[in-house]
């Protein structure tokens, strides 16, 4: 029988028919999976709660022609309940899963899977401010996808930094000699924060003031949306300190 089993994190769900859902998952070994979960919208469903977004499950699938079918699901990480208890975390998690959905396909995505699970776990445990966790996730997921930005050396010539001109289209900071006229300039504190978010240096990231965080967030959003080609719908609803952006 064409059955397979994998660990996966639920990215999003869509209603299907009377009581079913189409569930999009990012799995450890099979990349992105789209599968039908039958009857999960009924209150009597035995595994409906396990297939909500942000849940990490050990699931068994039946291979279908276009969509697979979820046969069983056991919870490995129930992050949804904790994330949804804090609105800022919920909006940040939405932006994360939308990004993961856009960056992955049905090929192997182990690094993206591990990064997303780690980020959701961090949000659920309130380890860091939700906005910083999201910004760090966006930078790292883009880096895994092959679009690692440079915040030190020139992204074009490799000339050692520091440089202050930041050009999204060129992949990060660039030397003055190659910077297009009118390129936006970033101060040293913002560049230090961006570097810390990319490398996961949380003491440095959490020490940044609100103005620096806000500037870094704008840079990351522009960088992510440029490389993802279409805008992330959830990003405009993300709640930062001081309200939604």
């Amino acid at each position: 029988m064409p059955l397979y089993r994998d660990e996966a994190v639920v990215l999003r769900t869509h209603k299907l028919g009377e009581a079913d859902r189409i569930v999009t998952l990012l799995s450890r070994e099979h990349g992105k999976i789209r599968a039908v979960a039958k009857g999960v919208r009924r209150t009597s469903s035995r595994f409906g709660a396990r297939l909500e977004p942000f849940m990490v499950v050990d699931a068994q699938f039946y291979e279908g022609r276009s969509l697979d079918i979820v046969q069983q699901a056991e919870t490995l990480g129930a992050y949804g309940g904790d994330i949804v208890g804090d609105y800022a975390s919920y909006t940040a998690a939405n932006a994360m899963v939308e990004t993961a959905d856009r960056l992955t396909d049905d090929g192997n995505s182990l690094q993206q899977y591990l990064l997303l699970v780690g980020a959701l776990r961090s949000l659920a445990r309130r380890e860091h401010p939700a906005g910083l966790t999201l910004d760090s996730y966006l930078l790292r997921s883009l880096a895994i996808a092959g679009w690692a930005p440079s915040f030190g050396d020139c992204a074009v010539t490799g000339a050692p930094g520091p440089h202050s001109a930041f050009v999204v289209q060129l992949g990060g900071v660039v030397a003055d000699a190659v910077a297009p006229p009118g390129s936006p300039r970033l101060d040293a504190a913002t560049l230090a924060l961006l570097g810390a978010l990319l490398s996961g240096d949380w003491p440095v990231a959490e020490a940044a003031d609100e103005r620096t965080r806000s500037q870094a967030t704008g840079v990351i959003a522009a960088y992510a949306q440029f490389h993802l080609e279409r805008g992330l719908r959830s990003l405009e609803h993300v709640e930062r300190a001081g309200g939604p952006r």
Binding site: S44, P53, S234
Partner: protein, 199 residues
């Protein structure tokens, strides 16, 4: 592909939510083949629904008048408002015969990934209804799924004010089910929401 108007009927039926190509074909052939089927009545009702039905200006429920029958009913308590996602949730709660207050239909739930934020729902209208101090309790009855819980979290934070109780529908084990088959999330909620049994 069928000829002309039959295919057009199948195509139109297939545009309805939850109706796939096979279902559309089955319904179309029922209409064509069953002589006793009153097509005129169906057509009249569809036209009438489109012309007459609107949304209640107070609660957002479906209504044939400016305000719905629940908002017009003087026997309903104006001190309690039950907040639901969709008009069909009003019908589900009315079937329980447990609630005698008023409703507020949000028109959905917060789902950033689908581009739906708080400003896209009837939250501003809810806040306006609470302004005169008549309402003493808001019961949040959004769906017990992730979007519904997030909407409840947002509303709870927004509505906290002196003299107003904000409550959330309990969630837990379904009546008639077996404990051993409950998933850990639902069972965990049931434990969280356990109540004291009077002795």
């Amino acid at each position: 592909m069928y000829e002309g108007i039959v295919q057009e009927l199948i195509d139109e039926l297939g545009r309805l939510p939850g109706i796939g190509p096979k279902s559309a074909q089955r319904i179309a052939f029922h209409i064509v083949q069953t002589q006793s089927f009153d097509v005129t009545r169906l057509a009249d009702i569809l036209r009438e629904v489109r012309d007459k039905v609107r949304f209640c200006s107070i609660c957002g429920n479906v209504s044939e008048q400016e305000t719905c029958s629940i908002c017009r009913d003087p026997r309903r308590s104006p001190a309690t408002i039950c907040v639901v996602e969709e008009a069909k949730d009003v019908v589900a709660i009315e079937r329980t015969r447990e609630f005698r207050g008023l409703y507020h239909v949000l028109g959905g739930a917060i789902s950033p990934i689908d581009g739906i934020g708080p400003d896209d729902l009837r939250i501003r209208e809810l806040v306006q209804r609470l302004a005169d101090g008549t309402v003493t309790e808001v019961i949040i009855a959004t769906d017990p799924n992730l979007e519904g819980e997030a909407t409840a979290t947002y509303l709870t934070r927004l509505l906290v004010q002196p003299g107003l109780r904000v409550t959330r529908l309990a969630s837990g084990l379904p009546v008639g089910g077996d404990l051993e088959y409950a998933d850990e999330v639902t069972l965990g909620r049931a434990f969280e929401g356990r109540r004291l049994v009077e002795s």
